[in-house]
């Protein structure tokens, strides 16, 4: 909207071309007699700032296939996994198409909840997908989803506050600490908001020390190695030295509010928070004040986890043909381009990165290299369950109830119970 008429016109033109191409391919041979019909129920997990755009895009499918009705349902991210499992396992109320977090695909597929997509209309121009995004859609050699958006964590910073304190965007957590000191002495504000309630935010610290959760090739649990403990040490040190503030609950909102109101100068966050941050008083009238830099590194390297969302079809869908078409549409270059333009989310198709409006998008310019270097998570059925033990220990370590070593050790033990064939 705010990018001007030329861009909009260009988008519209491209969109129509893309749609036309898509349509032709789809009707090529699979369906026996003509048009798709029925209802496709779509469970979307996007957040409050994003969901309006997604609903509009999903409804756009109805224009392409007038016989199909799209039933859009927004399911909050936190509940989506359990809700889908309840519905799919109980065989009632599950959606036809589900927006699944990258770590959920293997789990759902392992339980038999997802329809394999090979040879269906859903997988369109597979070569175009970024390889690491495509990796998260596969389970035991079959593809169960189409990548829709990819993301990773980065350091969001308040340019003005950093400038006032006379510091550059920090490159390591060590720098974060010294920058925080200067920020505090200058403005009395805290340097960093550290998410203490969400295990996902432990990963940059772990990777930064050169560690990882698991070694899936050697089937080894590595989180309880020295690197895992070191990661906790770094986090605890940031909190204890007052360089960072943290919470054991409501972290997402607390972080976003603290950052956009200028109570903290920095926060680790992903592209999904860009829209929300820009609405805050620090950035509303000065969008350029929002700085984004790669996640700070630890003593070994600088790395963040790969995240994102895929689209999967429920194996029990009564309308699989339409569901496949819907997945194809929602993962198409056209739709991905629109989500980037409206929400600054990152496309999973290489071709979309060549589109002018995407190329111009500052957040894409920043996040794309970060995504390229992001660390793939273990794409195993238990991938999502790996987080709970971290959450538990992270809070214990940050509140001083457990030592960093003890915390890492307990996570390793919990993984041992979870992953029977791992050492």
């Amino acid at each position: 909207m705010r990018r001007g008429i030329t861009a909009t016109a260009l988008v519209a033109a491209l969109a129509m071309t893309a749609a036309a191409c898509g349509g032709d391919d789809g009707d090529g041979g699979k369906k026996s007699g003509g048009k798709l019909s029925g209802t496709v129920t779509f469970w979307d997990t996007s957040n409050d700032a994003e969901k309006g755009t997604y609903e509009k895009l999903a409804k756009g499918f109805e224009d392409l296939h007038p016989g199909v009705k799209v039933k859009y349902v927004n399911v909050p991210f936190g509940e989506a996994n359990a809700k889908f499992k309840n519905a799919a396992g109980g065989n009632s109320g599950a959606p036809d198409v589900m927006r699944t977090e990258v770590a959920w695909v293997a789990d759902f597929a392992n339980l038999g909840y997802l329809a394999p997509l090979e040879g269906t209309a859903a997988l369109d121009k597979q070569d175009d997908f970024l390889p690491q995004a495509a990796a998260s859609t596969k389970f035991k050699g079959k593809t169960y989803a189409a990548p829709q958006t990819i993301d990773t964590l980065a350091l969001f910073y308040n340019k003005k506050m950093l400038k006032e304190a006379g510091v550059e965007a920090p490159k390591t957590f060590e720098d974060v600490k010294s920058a925080a000191k200067k920020i505090k002495s200058k403005s009395g504000k805290t340097g960093l908001y550290l998410r203490g309630d969400d295990p996902y935010f432990y990963l940059p610290y772990l990777y930064g020390e050169g560690g990882d959760l698991l070694d899936t090739k050697k089937k080894e649990i590595t989180v309880d190695d020295a690197e895992g403990a070191k990661a906790f040490e770094v986090m605890k040190d940031l909190v204890d030295s007052k360089a960072a503030v943290t919470d054991a609950s409501d972290g997402y909102n607390n972080q976003l509010n603290a950052f956009k109101n200028g109570d903290v100068a920095m926060a680790l966050d992903g592209p999904w928070s860009i829209e929300g941050a820009l609405q805050g008083k620090q950035f509303k009238n000065d969008k350029g004040n929002l700085g984004v830099a790669p996640v700070p590194g630890g003593s070994a390297r600088q790395a963040s986890p790969q995240g994102g969302w895929n689209l999967a079809a429920y194996a029990g869908s009564k309308n699989l043909d339409a569901s496949y078409e819907f997945i194809k549409y929602m993962s198409s270059a056209k739709v991905q381009q629109q989500t980037t333009e409206k929400l600054s989310l990152l496309p999973t198709r290489t071709s979309v990165y060549d589109v002018a409006s995407v190329k111009k998008n500052q957040m894409v310019q920043f996040f794309k290299p970060a995504v390229d270097k992001s660390v793939q998570r273990p794409w195993i059925p238990e991938a999502n369950s790996l987080f709970e033990p971290i959450r538990l220990e992270m809070q214990k370590v940050l509140s001083g109830k457990t030592s960093p070593e003890g915390g890492a050790e307990s996570i390793g033990k919990a993984y041992g119970k979870l992953l029977k064939d791992y050492k």
Partner: protein, 336 residues
Amino acid sequence: MAVESGPRAVEAADVTGVRGRGPRPGKNPGRLRRSLSTHWYAWAMVAPVVIVIGVIVGYPLARGVFLSTTNANEANVERTIGVNHIPATYESVGLDNYKAILDDGVFWDRLTWTVIWTVSCVALSFAIGLVLANMLNRKLKGRSFYRMALILPWAVPAFVSVFTWRLLFNEKNGVLNKVLEGGGIDAIPWLNDPTWAKISVIAVNVWLGVPFMLVAMLGGLQSIPGELYEAAEMDGASPWQRFRHVTLPGLRPVATTVVLISSIWTFNMFPVIFLLTRGGPGDATEILVTYAYRLSFVVSPRDFAGSAAWGVLILLLLSLFAVVYRRALRKQGEVW
């Protein structure tokens, strides 16, 4: 003596009964038929309830107990998804699940905290409820207004109150800390420090529990005849003595029941803990039921067998508590 003669008398009655009715193969069918023919109407009336309770309580219970002796989980139970039918492949593992739980320190840690949580919640809400009920039982101006106001927490859905409390407890923007700040006191990490989090969840649960206690106690107080107080006063009893020797004994039937019910509720009070702290920080405020929930719904594949075993253990603990409690009451001459 009475104990010894009891069974013999029954035996004798049975023997004559069978003889009197001629040659029948067993005594049970005869008795059953007899009771059916005389009480069929009662049976017919009760049948729907029996069936409904059997379906909604009995079957799940039996199935839960059965599952707790297997290794059933989300991946190996029978299910039909679209055209795929996945057969059940779980097998019996005997009491392994129970053994694993009882061997694990986690269970005992959680049990200790659950007991502390239950006892402190019930004791506090009972004490506060009793005091408030006594205050409200007098004739005072605007009594019905106070009563309404004090019952309000009960009228609000639990999740609404709990979410509201969560906002109040918020360390950075919460009202509680803002008030403390105004008084020059450092912010308290209500939900982020293990000890404060425990205090916070207990406070919220007491807040939610007081109205129930209050209503029950008020009812109890009003059923104590005024003559007793008059007589006590005539005898020169002080207010404290009147409270101690008239009010408390008079309240006992209500109080014992209320304490039992409230203990069971608190023991299983899932929403307050789950919604307020999610069991955190770490697992500091996790009680048995929230922990069982986490074990069975957060990991994947969901561990149905393990969660069933936790459920059975919780049920056993509560039954044990109820039996012991009733026995203690019976010793005091209470009929319940």
